[in-house]
């Protein structure tokens, strides 16, 4: 018979592990019903140009902006949502019209749009994304690339119904 040994040492190890994990929030039960909406990020709306056209690709491409769009509360994926994207890239400044484009989410609430390589501007390699279609509350995101050599950047929206 296998003896389950709860020594003082294993209790301390387990307790420590629980404490360490607990601070990350990973021990909370999955609460899709309580999925909180994504707040807009500071500076997210800088150089926003409303009404960017839906395009198959921004400029000559070479870099992928990806992400997901879900509904706050139940976390259901939201298809056919328009996400606007812009950044300082190898082909233009943030404010330039050719740096802006939009795409729609697919049936799984996922989007990906090819665009020119994002390069560091104003001190950080970063992109801008907007949801501003009126059905849900407007959200502006400003994700930062872990490395300016990255070829992709992801941003995730959880939208609050109006």
């Amino acid at each position: 018979m296998t003896k389950t040994g709860f020594s003082r040492r294993s209790m301390i190890a387990l307790g420590g592990a629980v404490l360490a994990t607990g601070t990350t929030g990973l021990l909370l039960p999955a609460r899709a019903a309580g999925l909180a909406p994504t707040p807009s990020m500071r500076g997210g709306s800088n150089n926003y140009r409303p009404g960017a056209p839906i395009v198959t690709q921004i400029g000559d491409g070479g870099f992928w902006m990806t992400g997901t769009v879900r509904r706050a509360g139940d976390g259901a994926p939201l298809p056919n949502q328009r996400i606007q994207i812009w950044a300082h890239t190898t082909e233009g400044h943030e404010r330039d019209p050719q740096s802006h484009g939009a795409t729609l989410t697919d049936a799984n609430g996922e989007f990906r749009l090819e665009m020119p390589q994002i390069v560091p501007a104003f001190g950080q390699p970063h992109g801008h994304l907007a949801y501003d279609s009126g059905e849900f509350e407007t959200v502006f995101l400003r994700p930062i690339m872990a490395s300016s050599k990255d070829k992709t950047l992801a941003a995730h929206f959880v939208l609050q119904p109006l």
Partner: protein, 198 residues
Amino acid sequence: MTRALLIWTVLALVLAVPLVAAAKSPLLAWRDPVYIIAGIAGVVGMGLLLMQPLLAGRYLPGLSPLASRKWHRWVGVSLIAAILIHVGGLWITSPPDVVDALLFVSPTPFSAWGVIAMWSSFAAAILGVYRQRLKLRFRVWRLGHTLLAAVTIVGSVVHAMLIEGTMEIMTKSALCALVLMASVRTLAKLRVWDVRRR
């Protein structure tokens, strides 16, 4: 004489090499002239920030104390001009980012350090301009001017080190380290904290 020539040559190199390195940055290929000038003005400003403690501490050979003070004044004026070009050029490039920085709501942590350094440098310059009219005792005035300069120096160095920009990392780190070392050395030499009457 040889020693003087050596010191001036080294100083010229220390100021020039970071500028040359920044001028070769690949990022420049994707920036408008106004943005490039704004960035270079920042690099020039960091170089001028190295000159200031060296002049205040009268370390540079061949300059009399009076000449050192005059240079310190003109380098200070140039530093303010460099800061204005830096911020003005960034404003033209992306107004909302600069407004965020000035209002301390920028997402980038280095912005606040830069803005604090900017206001502190303006205040230090104003103290310099109004030194005689303020009628403060010299050592008290100097302590105030030095405290503001110290905030400018620390703020500028943190600002520069946190930025991923046109400055090349080795030359940036070296220049920032030299600015800090020159400043500490000068503060110690002048014993700025000693405000007792002599």
